[in-house]
Amino acid sequence: MELLLTNLAHGFGVALSFQNLSFALLGALIGTAIGVLPGIGPVATISLLLPITFGLPATTAIIMLAGIFYGAQYGGSTTAILLNLPGEVSSVVTTLEGYKMARNGRAGAALATAAIGSFFAGTVGTILVAASGPLLTQVALSFGPADYFSLMLLGLIIASVLAQGSVIKAIGMVVFGVALGLVGTDVQTGQQRFTFGIPELSDGIGFVPVAMGMFGIAEIILNLERPESRSVLTNKVGSLWLTKEEFRRATPAVLRGTVVGSFLGILPGGGAALAAFGSYMMERKMSKGRDQFGSGAIEGVAGPEAANNAAAQTSFIPLLTLGIPSNAVMALMVGALIIQGIQPGPRMVEAQPDLFWGLIASMWVGNLMLLVINLPLIGMWVKLLQVPYKYLYPAILVFCSIGVYSLNNNVFDVYMTVLFSVFGYFCNKVKLEAAPLLIGFVLGPMMEEHLRRAMLLSRGDPMVFLERPISATMLGIGAVALLAMALPALRKGKDKALAE
């Protein structure tokens, strides 16, 4: 406990340095600004802004990206409440009650509830990360290569099981992602694999072109194809203050949402989305205002918003302790860390204490900032979300293009992004999910490394994966998860939970 406090104090020392604080603020501001723009979710926002963090020191860059992430998520809730337009899957639930509240003239209260609930949940989530991080890291350090491999496999399985749509196709995309990750120079022999003699590919396919192409550019085309159907906000935001009655009803919902969210966020896959939905279902059954659901119940905003923010925090746990991204956003974080020359994993706590504790402290700082900057600035966000898409998409396109070029100062990356935009467009048309591919792509090289080591240690005996208890447990859970999806009843439940 004492150690935890010392470490946290160290973390706050890092996070509160002028540079880190200002970049966290900048990140939260830009993240919110882009997050409220319709049609741009957190994944697109982060991949869009990834290049502007390259010039920063690693700790500052990650702190800024985390700020962008929280901001983008908060921005998503704002559009959900005001425009009935969820920026991402996890704020779909918010539209149900939040937009109704806005139509009843209580938009301000809904936004305030979302912000305060998120802040509270974020605080709890941060404490959880800080407390469990070092413990889990200790556990992770005892992992052998076989355990690691099985753990990553489990992560990939759960991520695809929780993806939207067909599980088989999601696993197919994970596997294809792993294959894409293998392009480049083989670490052990130095042989070039699948590079077609292109020198730029010898370091592998760039992470940014894949993410930007599939989540940035392809999204623009798809958004443009859908005719714009935004109902312009006619009613005013109204008072931000909650009435006593509202406050009394929202508080227990926030508490319940935080618990649900913290727990579900650790799961790989649709953590935040699942958390929000789980909390919504819970509120509809348990809260006092359950008879008002469907006509703007404040519990339906407070619970899910707290849950998805708690989940957003705890989803950092597997990343920081094990180096395993649990969703597409975390895959982007891994990408950013690797670009900064840091291999995420259990050694990060000791090797990069500044980064580890600084990030945790800045999570809390970031959440506080959102509360402080967002509510007073709500008028500005409302203006921003009325910007027509026809003026927005050229800006996104231009930012992606310059950003991707500045990675290596090479136009090759620009053309690579175009290829992945075509691929992303195709995937959308045939309902192949892009997020599992990204996670597989990030984990692929690490999996090969661990597989090789495990097999070398076991002298080529694959039974090692079943003999080691940790590894066997992981594989067992993975198998159960896969089998569970074969049961039609469960699959329907999942489809309902993730349906947009």
Partner: protein, 200 residues
């Protein structure tokens, strides 16, 4: 029998890619399970992908009848034409001396012209123009400089939205605004290394 065409196409795509991958992987030494060569992991991954692709095809065949969007003859023609013209342009430009023969300029030009050919079909217009505009950016950036490349990508991508065509003044405003913003963010603040003006 109701075929889910999306599942079917997804499965076939996964199989096709994996088959190509396995074929390319023949060049790599497999090694043994104990000492894995560069070809071992790809071999496993691609076979797994074929199995999954096959399952997706099976599910698609006994599916719920979800259909892909029907392409009109026009769209099929533009698609085939775009690819054919793209490849033709590439092979014509590649041996040329000067700008277009250089490393990726031939690729970029070929891709851009291919995407533009695609735009002949109205259904492909958005897709073609947005991608073409990024290729144009790549082509212009190093030779013609930052500002010219930006004007290129902004104007071409704006053409994709019909409302801009009705009111071209919007394109001008967008262009000027984005030029200033990008100069401020990328040149003044982030100081990326790129030519601002044409290099003649």
């Amino acid at each position: 029998m109701k075929i889910n065409e999306k599942d079917l196409v997804s499965g076939l795509f996964l199989i096709l890619i994996a088959a190509i991958g396995l074929w390319l992987n023949l060049d790599h030494n497999m090694g043994t399970a104990r000492r894995m060569g560069p070809g071992y992991m790809p071999w496993m991954v691609f076979w797994l992908q074929i199995v999954l692709g096959g399952l997706a095809v099976l599910i698609g065949i006994f599916g719920d009848g979800e259909k892909l969007l029907r392409w009109t003859g026009n769209e099929i023609g533009a698609f085939v034409g775009g690819i054919a013209v793209g490849f033709a342009v590439f092979y014509i430009l590649k041996p040329m001396p000067g700008f277009f023969g250089q490393t990726y300029n031939a690729v970029g030009t070929a891709m851009m012209i291919g995407f533009l050919v695609l735009c002949i079909a109205p259904g492909w217009r958005l897709f073609g123009l947005i991608n073409a505009s990024m290729c144009l950016f790549g082509l212009l950036l190093e030779k013609m400089g930052f500002f010219a490349a930006l004007v290129g990508i902004i104007v071409m991508s704006c053409l994709a939205e019909r409302e801009h065509l009705k009111k071209p003044i919007g394109i001008l405003g967008t262009t000027i605004f984005l030029l200033i913003m990008c100069w401020f963010v990328f040149i003044k603040e982030l100081d990326i290394r790129v030519n601002l003006w044409p290099q003649l």
